[in-house]
Symmetry: C2
Subunit: 436 residues, 2 copies
């Protein structure tokens, strides 16, 4: 005699946006919905998909009857339980999500720009309407880092995290470091291979990393984050020369999203950073992402995986869908959205942070120049860790590299402004921050 399984509970999903990630979600549902139903007793049904144009060619085959060009057909459909917003950008995504909550729907989104720049409005709407907002897919695609910070490390105080959170930049930096190609060539390569957009601004100028930093810091430090408070530098100014010198000194150059929760306030910054080769992040290559977290109880942790792409991001969306589906299918009842209570922590101005620094001076090769630089650094309370004078075939411009002990950014800036005005200095001094 066979034991009859209890009937599956149906959860209806409306998808808004059928680009790369949306197509991934459709693929995963097609492939795994059966297995998910067998395992969990939940039948996930894709009820409707809102797209911009019915005519567009798709990455995945979907029955025409599922498509609509009106998001309202999803938002107004009382049978739909979960709205999955995958169109990205601020508008009309914000209105769509707000309307979804108001209409009693749970929401899953991958929209990092919206959450980073206007997150409090969205989280506030969820709390007011007592609905869940899943956003695992907004940071680091397939790596379940949102869940780790929110739940896995729930009792910890996070003191700092360092993240390689943009695959495009990491691909470019990996190519520059491994094959000695310059930024422009490496960018073009990445574009040809589909790892960089035609307009790479958001990626290479650090904006995308800053979006993810805002979301991670909100979760990790449990503070509201004003996006404009984040200091952002991208990778365009990096030259192959400095990447090579860094390598000789035992460092990899990575674009890091850095969050630190200090007693004086939060540090929130995105910039190229040198990491010693024995740091677990220094070996993260190509399109991979990784977040290094220091938690007071759990200690040092690293989460590593694919940060973007159709299926990794779909995996994150599905994780949120399943979490919510379990609740609304009655396995676990959802009483309220139980928002985390946040504080408003102060953000330190960039001038106030302290770091170690890599400095490359291009100077005339004549006696006394190094002494002059060293004196200016000393006067500004900057201690020198090591000096490396490189060979040069041009006596008018010799590279002198100085690694400093921890110093205040304010003092570094002051010293460099003095040094850069000196006649013997031939180019603007290059400065890269160093984390250990």
């Amino acid at each position: 005699m066979k034991v009859k399984a209890s009937p599956a509970k149906t959860v209806n999903i409306g998808l808004i946006g059928l680009g790369v990630v949306g197509s991934g979600v459709v693929k995963v549902l097609k492939k795994n919905a059966r297995a998910i139903e067998r395992r969990t007793g939940i039948r996930l049904v894709l009820k409707k998909i809102a797209v911009q144009s019915l005519a567009k060619k798709r990455l995945v085959r979907v029955p025409r009857r599922l498509l609509t060009t009106r998001p309202g057909d999803i938002l107004g459909d009382p049978s739909i339980d979960i709205v999955v917003e995958l169109i990205g950008g601020l508008r009309p995504a914000k209105e769509i999500i707000r309307k979804a909550f108001e209409n009693g729907k749970q929401v899953v989104t991958a929209n990092k720009a919206l959450l980073a720049e206007q997150g409090e409005e969205i989280f506030g709407a969820a709390a007011r309407c007592r609905k869940k907002l899943g956003f695992e897919a907004s940071v680091c695609g397939g790596i379940p880092i949102v869940k780790a910070l929110k739940e896995g490390l729930a009792s910890n105080q996070i003191s700092h995290f360092l993240g390689i959170v943009n695959g495009t930049c990491n691909t470019i930096l990996t190519a520059m470091s491994q094959r000695g190609v310059g930024f422009d060539a490496a960018l073009k390569e990445a574009q040809v291979k589909g790892y960089a957009e035609k307009n790479p601004h958001l990626d290479v100028d650090g904006i995308d990393s800053a979006h993810k930093l805002a979301i991670l810091a909100r979760l990790g430090f449990r503070s509201r984050i004003a996006f404009r408070d984040i200091h952002v530098e991208g990778i365009r100014p990096l030259s192959i020369v400095d990447i090579e010198y860094a390598k000789e000194l035992g460092y990899a150059v990575k674009l890091l999203a850095i969050g630190k929760n200090t007693e004086r306030g939060m540090e929130l910054r995105v910039h190229p950073t040198m990491l010693p080769f024995d740091h677990p992040l220094s070996g993260v290559k190509g399109v991979y992402n990784a977040v290094f977290v220091h938690a007071d109880q759990a200690g040092d942790l690293l989460f590593y995986g694919k940060g973007a792409g159709m299926l990794p991001t779909a995996s994150a969306v599905m994780s949120d869908i399943l979490d919510i589906a379990k609740r609304i299918s009655g396995q676990v009842d959802l009483k309220s959205s139980a928002p985390i209570r946040l504080t408003d922590k102060k953000v330190l101005a960039m001038e106030e942070i302290a770091s170690k620094y890599y400095l490359r001076f291009q100077v005339e090769d004549k006696p006394g120049v190094l002494g002059k630089i060293a004196r200016t650094l000393g006067k500004n309370h900057i201690s020198i860790l090591s000096v490396h004078q490189k060979e040069s075939h041009d006596p008018r411009s010799v590279p002198v590299i100085i690694l400093t002990y921890e110093a205040k950014e304010k003092n570094i800036r002051k010293a460099l402004s003095v040094i850069n005005r000196d006649r013997v200095v031939r180019e603007k001094t290059v400065m890269v921050r160093v984390e250990a």
Copy 2:
């Protein structure tokens, strides 16, 4: 005017066992219960602690009135919501957990031996009583890998995982590799430093790793696992010679817990394994743990952190306590335990697996020996990737190292039994499996 916060909901906890992990939980509660209440609106109250002896010296200060020597005082206290079992071992832990479920309590445990060896009874009792069982702390301490497999990667099919899941073994192997000390000396060192127990059997012979493998495989492959089906080899037989040769060839030697879900069946095995230096697990040193997971959608992932210790393990216990507390405090209602539905997948016998192999033959230094070995390997369908003959000062015993392409374990065993019987072979041939 101040806005009055809604009153906190109280969740009462009973702790059974006040060893290292139990003391960690008490510490975290002391330090962070206030912050947790502020953030989540949940007041976690440690109601009672059952210990073996009231006289014993403790790692943490607790009011005498909280202590009892009778677990029944906790199991029978109707005000206690969550029972945290931290005594370990099979008995009396199993009875305690079962009784807790029957008395309507939720349970959190760090007991890997019990879950690995008699897990189905425990999971079955939870399901029957419709209670939650949290066991994040049973695998890899501070790394939220249970949550990642259960929820973060919920829609993925896991094809395989490789884990460094025992900090004692990894500390010993790291010392052997970095400082050339032998197993016995490295073990003694680890014991002095508190990284190995006086009786190191469970750790160095791979049993502890196998316990964790059983739990990970159950979650990852969604199959019941019979503990006796796991093939277990420890690190005692490893000699410093082979670790050195491996290094020269570009490999690190690690004790891995390996789970593979193939079409022919599951591979479940714990044994020393060579990993190329560019594999993300090869750089995991000392007491750190890491699990490398391949998921069909999310791709390659790595979870890295402290696998043991007072606070990292307490962090995992707290994560489970908070998950359950959120549900029972009414923020989310718990209707049923919604157990994962499992299958019973076949486990492949060790003879049936395929792998690459490192083989070290100690042979007489005379013509024709290598040819003879190569012929025997060839006859057994084993292809040679590379041969390395090492210098030796003893012509009666020269090491010859052969790396093979993927071959069947059955064939390797057959070939070695032939070769080991040959007069020119002076010691039993060393075999280490290689993962790429």
